[in-house]
Symmetry: C2
Subunit: 396 residues, 2 copies
């Protein structure tokens, strides 16, 4: 995984300032592939979906795409029929300026909910954004899609696939719901790998399952969460097909990229001082492991205990117990950063020592249910006064 | 509902100090009926159940009871086989001292999890507790069962049933999980009403459903949650049977008592500054209304927004949307303390005015889904820096 960004061939970028929420920062971005790309996407499961999500859900059925236009500052959610018109118009203006098909353009929005998109300002800037394609970097886009993220999130990786070097690069923005307004998890992955549609979709789906779908800041799932991937084939490799060794390499690379991007989101959780890995193992099934791990990761009591360096494993076994999965507490082992604090459901007497282990900026919680083979890891952060302060402020 | 406590006939009380966690306060209590009473109970659904809960679950099958012994300071949870022995011994010592059947004695514990019950100290005090029956008041018991509750919770009500005046009184302690240790919701209701077993069970079940089971401080369900009711018939009324007008009067009185006790728990939530009523109406079913209301009530973003007087209804519709129930956001209306902030899923433009409405110490959120007839009300509190401070402290 390279921390500096290697950018796939055949993509260009642009950013612009439309003062969507307020002036003084880039809030419009464009990701453009030089040629028609294979595309796949994953979207929020929230029943209340923002207008751009609804538009993209339709368009992704084609499995193709050329461009993504992204705005921060306004989520275009809970904006009714006008919101749908505005989302479509954003793609239409970009498509017209670039001379590409409107249906090949995706749109993603993040920011305030329930406020109409300021289309007068956005409309005026979209042709400028389109004509600027190639003047910005992928890093610039990573910065322009931020809301209250404290740092841009960008990673890339190079692999040898089908006799060629391919590049996969990704950016994302904060998962927390952020004051003064609701925010969103957005992720964009681009690659010059040649790959067929089914394989790309499968790779993204598998990667998101164990990365963006296994993180939680506060348990709130936004109306706008979106991950899109575009693969334009510019690397000239033999196209990757599902079930081949090349597919395995590609899928593993995408999974690792998504996992590390997801970890950056958690590290940047609002007010967070620690990254927390909650691993539930030997649950009856993987689904049960995931359910238990989320219950623990979302428990305010667990998150405040981690913040306070309090090895209060009672809160861990308690959250596991109410998660709704099969638990026999007389079998449960719990360790905190390698120190076993609970064996077969009872104290090992190591609590004081464990308090010290919690002072580490990364806290690894392992809960062993000893009931089966299911395993899942969920990433989260601690809960601090900082989170309350950020989220209790007035929208201004 | 009387704020001063009218106590049902034929019950006696005692408290004692066993220094279970630390000296200086009453931490053992006894509720004793002079005669064998009809009894019913509701217990935590947590898969990890404390020893006293497991014991009581067996004994409640008899539908009878004479006494309840309660300790604070230690939950006797995650204490293995020894914990089960200790719970049984507590009831045995009380039963022997009182000359009653061991199986007619219930035991409830609240406090630290994973620490063996200090039976040397408890054992020494139980005969003293039993022989002191009649020397304390129900109010004294309400105080002795507290952990970090800031005030005792006790209410009573009188009704005319079957030609006689009957009294129903209840006490409870905090629902929040409380630093430095996990705490628990315990509720005890006593009445001199004569009532048959099936009717008592039905009345308690219905009452708990819309009271103690519709409150949330932080979404965490403890290993020890218990509500017990004993009805000894000392009022001499014609015994109440299910389906009769007398039953309706009795069940309504128990439901109201439980609801108001539950409200006291929420008012005493850790760090809370506001009581929040989340009402979801016109959901497809009552179960869907309850599920959506809990999603909203447990959302950290909602709770921090209420704390910050921020009428951020986007967080409300968002939580409703991810709750997993049927939602058509183009139909959703949301009002905050009587002011509609969202109509048919879109802003009404009243946010600023609504911010002011949130300054009220009680905040009523009504979410109208317009999809059916299901309604549920969940009580919660706001989320503040105070909660974090309380829960992040070391156990000491």
């Amino acid at each position: 995984m390279q921390k500096t960004t290697a950018v796939p061939k055949g993509f260009r970028f642009a950013t612009a300032e439309a003062a969507i929420k307020k002036p003084g920062r880039k809030d419009l971005s464009l990701i453009l592939s030089d040629t028609d790309a294979v595309a796949a996407g994953m979207f929020t499961k929230n029943a209340v979906k923002a207008a751009p999500v609804r538009l993209d859900l339709e368009r992704i059925k084609s499995g193709r795409g050329r461009a993504i236009v992204i705005n921060s500052g306004n989520a275009n959610a809970c904006t009714g029929v006008q919101g749908m018109k505005d989302a479509a118009e954003m793609t239409q203006l970009v498509a017209e300026s670039l001379g590409i098909a409107e249906k090949s353009v995706y749109v993603c929005s993040t920011g305030v909910i329930g406020t109409p998109m300021p289309m007068d300002r956005v409309r005026a800037k979209l042709p400028e954004l389109a004509s600027a394609a190639g003047t910005a970097s992928f890093d610039d886009v990573a910065a322009a899609i931020m809301t209250t993220d404290t740092f841009p999130k960008i990673l890339s990786v190079r692999k040898k696939i089908g006799g060629k070097q391919v590049t996969i690069a990704g950016i994302c923005k904060g998962a927390g719901m952020i004051a003064p307004n609701m925010a969103t998890m957005l992720g964009f992955i681009i690659t010059d790998t040649a790959i067929d549609r089914a394989a790309l979709k499968a790779a993204l789906s598998a990667a998101v399952k164990t990365s963006f779908n296994r993180i939680t800041i506060d348990g709130d799932m936004s109306t706008n969460d979106t991950v899109l991937i575009m693969a334009n084939g510019a690397a000239g490799n033999v196209p990757v097909k599902a079930g081949t060794p090349d597919y395995a390499v590609f899928a593993a690379a995408v999974a690792k990229l998504c996992y590390e991007l997801a970890m950056l989101i958690v590290r940047d959780g609002e007010g967070a001082t620690k990254l927390v890995e909650v691993i539930v193992k030997n649950a009856k099934t993987e689904a049960e492991a995931e359910k238990a791990a989320f219950a623990v990761a979302n428990s305010m009591l667990v998150k405040t205990a981690v913040y306070g360096n309090d090895a209060n494993w009672g809160r861990l076994i308690c959250a596991t117990g109410y998660s709704g999965v099969s638990v026999d507490d007389s079998k449960v082992d719990i360790s905190l950063n390698g120190l076993m604090v609970c064996r077969n459901g009872m104290a090992t007497g190591k609590d004081i020592e464990a308090n010290d282990r919690l002072k580490n900026p990364t806290v690894k919680i392992i809960i062993d249910l000893k009931l089966g083979k299911g395993m899942a890891k969920v990433l989260t952060c601690d809960l601090t006064e900082g989170y309350i302060r950020i989220n209790a402020e007035y929208r201004t």
